[in-house]
Amino acid sequence: MPSPTSIWVGSARAVFTKDWRCELRSRYALNAIALFAVTTLVVTSAALGPAGTNKSLAINVLPAMLWLILLFAAAAGLPRAFVHEEESHTAIALRLASPPSALFVGKLVFGVSLLLGIEALVAPLYLGVMSLEVASPGLLVIALVSGGYGLAAGSVLIAALASQARGRSTLFSVLAFPVLMPLLLLAIELTRNAVAGDAAGPALPQLLLYDGSVTIAGLMLFPSVWNP
Amino acid sequence: MRERTTRRKGGFFLRTLKGQEGDTMELGGLGWIFAVNLIIWTGLFVFLLRIERRIAGLEAGGKGR
């Protein structure tokens, strides 16, 4: 007789696998995010040129632009995690099949892996196209991973909320922006430090704290969102 | 009454917005501003009282209008 824990883990894993399988079949979110990110990159590069060669721009402006691109890419692709379930009426099956916390973790890991995959594509392209030299690449990776996690976690949680309402995609942006703003500010600051070669500073522990808080808040609140 | 030594354009509120106001005595006496504030507050207070009376009436069963 399988233990409750292994059932729970199995559920979460099943949700994760199912979402990736659907995603790889349709490639809807991947396409949306990648297309959006690449388009923005092209426009940025065409408009600014290799702005990374300008030291002041490199430190002050380019980190912020990178995270804005990632923000909008996340908004383009991640809400689908829940909206799709509502629209194709598979949400009911999910409610029956899986405990809410397992469902949330499955969706969360899916969202994080999706976003980290996109970052792996976008970040090197961005650095190359904008000719941006990074003094501490290790810190940049840390910023991308911890910032990416927070971005995905926050987006998945808000997506769950927005999926219960009408006008879902516009509502997502309205709800997500204030929630994600601290994350973005922290990630931008950390990225700036990476580019300039400064120490990580207080931004790193605060960013990790944000990631932890959103995860815990999501685990505690998601059952109320999902179940009546 | 103090006399104004310079002539300025625009109404008082407009000047405040433009940052030209703020000198002590030019304000025409704090008493004037205090009186205006008091009137605004009293008006708000009476308004809230009337709303409360109306609500209490509806709660007590005067549901038909």
Binding site: A165, R166, L171, P178, E189 | L27, L30
Partner: protein
Amino acid sequence: MTRTISLGLRAALWLVMSLCIWGAFFYAWSDPAFIGQSSRILFFHVPMAWTSFVAYFAAAVWSGRYLWGGRQPRHDRAAAAAVECGVLFGVLATVTGALWARIEWGAFWNWDPRQTSIVVVLLFYGAYLALRSAMADREIRARISSVYALIALVVTPFFYFIVPRITDSLHPEPVINAERKLDVDPRMFQVLIASALTYTILFFWIHNLRARTQALADAREDDPS
């Protein structure tokens, strides 16, 4: 009998607020570090901002009570009313703050920590109200918006750490902290505290009226007879 007490309490509120207004203009002195009498606007601005933060916190508390205190509709009504009243005080605080900033520093907006934090609160308020308007079913609306209010509460403290650092890098010159200067003078401090308390009581009165109105509207919707 209770009617008399209740009327007496309200009359007392009128009196106390009038005293605070009087205190703002005649009891406290105008801070000489600021232009003319302009520091007096802080006796209104600071309590309004304080009250909108109180409303924010109250909305989250009522949301929590709704979710985990038996899903009682009155808690949800109280949360929503708190947000609406919070918007009222928040907008007033922003406007008075911007006016004062214009007089003091020549610009309506500086993104200094205080201005930024009130904007953040207003953003969350706006998102909360937008969320509510997108759901017609009362129970779903109550549940989902309660969750959002709690998420907002979790996330907001991060702004208090972050924003001062960012504005430091944007504005290297020290921004005059008005409250700290005013605290030094006991009269100003007294008027500030008294006003803050009075505005909070006023908030709870207005909030009570709003929540009761919504209760009546809901009852009429349920039973139009």
